[in-house]
Amino acid sequence: MAAIPGRRFPRPWRSGEGLLVLPALLFYLAVYLYPLSRIAAWSLFERGFTLKFYRELLDEPMYFRALGNTLEISFLSTALCLLLGYPLAYLMATTSARARSALMVLVLIPFWTSILVRTFAWMVILGNNGMVNRTLMALGLTGAPVKLLFNMLGVQIGMVHVLLPFMVFPLFAVMSGIDPNILRVARSLGAAPRRAFRHVFLPLSLPGIAAGCVLVFLLAVGFYVTPALLGGPGQITLATMIEMQINTFLNWGFAASLGIVLLLVVGGIFAAFSTLLGIGRLTGEA
């Protein structure tokens, strides 16, 4: 059997299998691509072509603030997730198999719990009558309830809670691939543990850091539920603004232009990092 160059097997009868993609492709065209094109159309047309919905976006400070809020919230929660998630992923990668699976289960349980449930849980805990405030008041640390909800603090607590696993998993995937012998070599060559970590382990874990940060940032930029429930007027994001435009202000064209901006932000970040990191790492191929 002569192998055809570029193929692992001679498979003259195999040509038909690509056709299996067709049902999904047709479905996507109707229910994914067409809706996205409708967004673009709504943002650009109102009795003829217009850029007014985009101009409004630049002119009205409130809308511009929504973009700023979105980026601020996303940067902050990405940084917090990295700071908190890195030690956890490190522990998971370097501990015994038994402890690792226990840790994994403890991360997976919240991961698979509905976001709505988790966000609601924080409302119960952080509210004026919540557990935290009543404990603080019982201890006499504060006379009146501290405001923990409907501000940046509440949003960050909720976001980090939801997004942390998305940081831990890619970090752990990369770290568990780092050969522990390399660290032993560094140690035997006289590097102190701290030095071995900083000059050997940390650089080797960089791909995980990059993948985790991109993933968390992308999710954070488009996040709706948590900012909407735990944030206040100062935490209006592109996502929450879109919903308000549709359900409250009935301004479809403007909602559409906000949607396009959000899509461009996400697409831009994704394109930049997929060229830097290679596409596979971001699409779950690793």
Binding site: G16, Y90, V117, I125
Partner: protein, 262 residues
Amino acid sequence: MRAVLWAFCGLLLVFLIAPILVVMVTSLNDSQYMEFPPRTWSLRWYANFFGSAQWTGPALLSVRVALVVSVCATVLGTLAAVGIVRGRFRGRQALEMFLISPMIVPIVVMALGLFFLFSAVHLLDSPVALTLGHTVVATPLVIVLVRAGLRASDPALELAARSLGANAWRTLIYVTLPAIRPSLAAAAVFAFLVSFDEVVVAIFVGGPASTTLPKRMWETIRFEIDPTLTAVSSLLTLVAVFVLVVAAVVRRPGKRGAGLTV
């Protein structure tokens, strides 16, 4: 140093798990003020959930939609994954990217597009719209899971079946798919969960005639905090944990397919 690391991670895990436990305990309150810990205990909020059509109606709708979504997304996604992994054609990689791309589109943007689509064809506020919308969200996940299973399985088996005279369909049904059964099961389960938990599409395209459980919860959280929510929350968490355990047990024998983490 190691002790500090363990202590830090211990606190972090408390942060991750505690809110869920607090809500579960709070749901056993007899008072309507969501006290923690409850002063008097009862199951009245669970009774409230199961006894009120306001809650059971949306819950049943959610289950129905999620079942249909699970079937549709698994069929579409599995066929597409087989086509991508086993097929050889021009533009395969670009097509693969396209089929997975809904995963990076913010759910709000997807929901907005679906809102425009279904308002144009007068399908807003219908279970059909919810099902179609959730299927788009779930299908990329199925593709990723099944693709991983296919890449781990041996194409030589299919080659053998073909050379023994099985046609393409028989090979697919009797050889390819059975070999990746654990991935298919995981994909179907996750498609179900994605739809069952989905709230943003439900907010945009759902309405009074098609209120899913997450949408009902959303409205309740926003407009009147009702302790029944704590009961619903703990039920949902129990379902998720149960599914997770089942998925882990199902996956164990073959050790094949993608991880639980996608």
